[in-house]
Amino acid sequence: MTIYGFPVPKFAALIVWVIVWEIVGQFELLLLFPPFTEVLAAMVDVVTTPSFFEAARITAYCYLLGLALAVVFGIALGLLMGLVPAADKLLNMWINIFLSAPLSALVPVIMILFGMGQPTVIVTVFMFAVWIIALDTRAGVQHVSPSLKEMALSFGASRAQRLKIVLFSALPEILAGIRLGVIRGVKGVVIGQLLVSIIGVGALFSLYSQNFLMGHFWALILILFAFALSLAELIGRFEQKVEFYAGARG
């Protein structure tokens, strides 16, 4: 499996990195890098505290809600751009700007608009995930085979039916966009909470770093990574299921 074109380290590679980490940590050169074994021990500590449970709940809630909004809005936006050239002309440039803009710099603005609570985190997740979903959906819609569209027309399909055919045809690209959105969304939920820093994992992160609990700090990061990668893997599995027909498209 690859993400952003980079191969995700296989299990073996992972072990190598863990060993390197452990060795570097044992030298106690950097305060920031406790040995890996210490991080593992801290992980047990982290997941058993009630504040972790609360942070996980808030994180999951903000993440899933922001992502759901991004999926719905992103697909709708992508469909609009893929189907209506005028809308595409108007929006494409902006969406590309948003896609490549340093969104973290935007979070303070979001904070001013939405306050220091969950809405800001939700909006941040949304902003991180939505644009890639919209652009991938657009690409998928634009690549729908013209003859399939003509086929639907010639057999008298209704507008709704034709839209369904476009959506199904574009499904492989849409799913690829969602998979990327899932990963970006994790970035969003972490950055959002870090900047808000009084709720969720953000609060935990600031608690750990202020008390120099670097083992706990890294344990939390590992947990978040594991969460993001498993989600992406899950969607990757689903993608493979629809791949059989992606390959068969004209």
């Binding site: 085979s145 399939l148 003509e150 086929m151 057999f155 008298g156 390959g247 068969a248 498209r249």
Partner: protein, 271 residues
């Protein structure tokens, strides 16, 4: 109308006694793409009920354009198309299209693809599946109903496209180079099956092809189009008996003579 009882429908009896009124008529059709490409020029044609007409010509001469105009998928720049005496405004249930690249839904089974047209017409699930099953069988795909397009060869995919067009029980079947994307053996078998199918199904076929042999082998009438702007260069009525051994037909002197004659006619465009 029950598809199983096809041969007993009034249509079939009507066609048995030759009806002179053409089922499809094109009147003064011009097509200009984007103000610059003059694809078709003054096409006046009549297609007789129950006949198979081939539109033959070098590639780029406007065959697909003409077929799509007849299908109602493209608007002519000038002129009009009449089907059953009425001018068309778009696609209609009396015409069904068979696509060069099959145009199957990759996510749907053979049966669902074949039933697509019926589904759009609002035919209930049980009935449309029964009818689709019948035509899937008729095109020789019995046993493949639950397969997906990617599990089929090119020739089999085109049979699904044909079953889908037959299932809606249209009067006119419009086929755009239906055999061009399949290999030579499959192509011949498909051509023979089409001849057999014509004996069962009483339909008008308009077939686009760039193969002289295919046109001569299959057609009651051949319309030769000249290169851009596409014009009717010649209309021929091959008189070839198609009963019996297909290989014998392909060796018959009438068949060979006509192939030769058309080739001589087309040659000047190629050179």
């Amino acid at each position: 109308m029950n598809a199983i009882a096809q041969t007993a429908t009034p249509d079939a009896t009507a066609a048995a006694t030759p009806v002179d009124a053409p089922i499809v008529r094109t009147e003064g059709i011009h097509k200009v793409y984007g103000g610059a490409v003059h694809a078709l020029k003054d096409i006046n044609l009549e297609f007789k009920r129950g006949e198979l007409t081939s539109l033959l010509g070098p590639s780029g001469c406007g065959k697909t354009t003409l077929l799509k105009i007849i299908a109602g998928l493209l608007k002519p720049t000038e002129g009009r198309v009449q089907v059953n005496g009425k001018p068309i405004t778009g696609p209609g249930p009396e015409r069904a299209f068979v696509f060069q690249d099959f145009a199957l839904m990759p996510w749907a089974t053979v049966l669902r693809n074949a039933a697509f047209g019926l589904e759009q017409q609002g035919v209930a699930k049980a009935e449309r599946e029964e009818r689709a099953r019948h035509y899937v069988k008729e095109v020789g795909l019995a046993g493949f109903e639950d397969k997906y397009p990617h599990e089929l060869s090119g020739g089999m995919r085109q049979r699904v496209g044909l079953a889908r067009a037959l299932a809606v029980d249209a009067d006119v079947l419009l086929m755009d180079e239906p055999f061009s994307a399949v290999d030579e053996q499959t192509r011949r078998k498909f051509q023979e099956d089409l001849i057999r199918l014509r004996e069962i199904e009483n339909k008008t076929f308009i077939l686009v092809t760039h193969s002289i042999e295919e046109a001569v082998y299959l057609s009651d009438r051949i319309v030769l189009l000249s290169p851009r702007p596409g014009r009717v260069a010649q209309v021929m009525d091959p008189d070839i008996k198609r009963e019996g051994d297909p290989d014998a037909i392909r060796r018959a002197p009438e068949y060979l003579d006509l192939t030769d004659e058309i080739w001589r006619g087309l040659r000047e465009y190629v050179e």
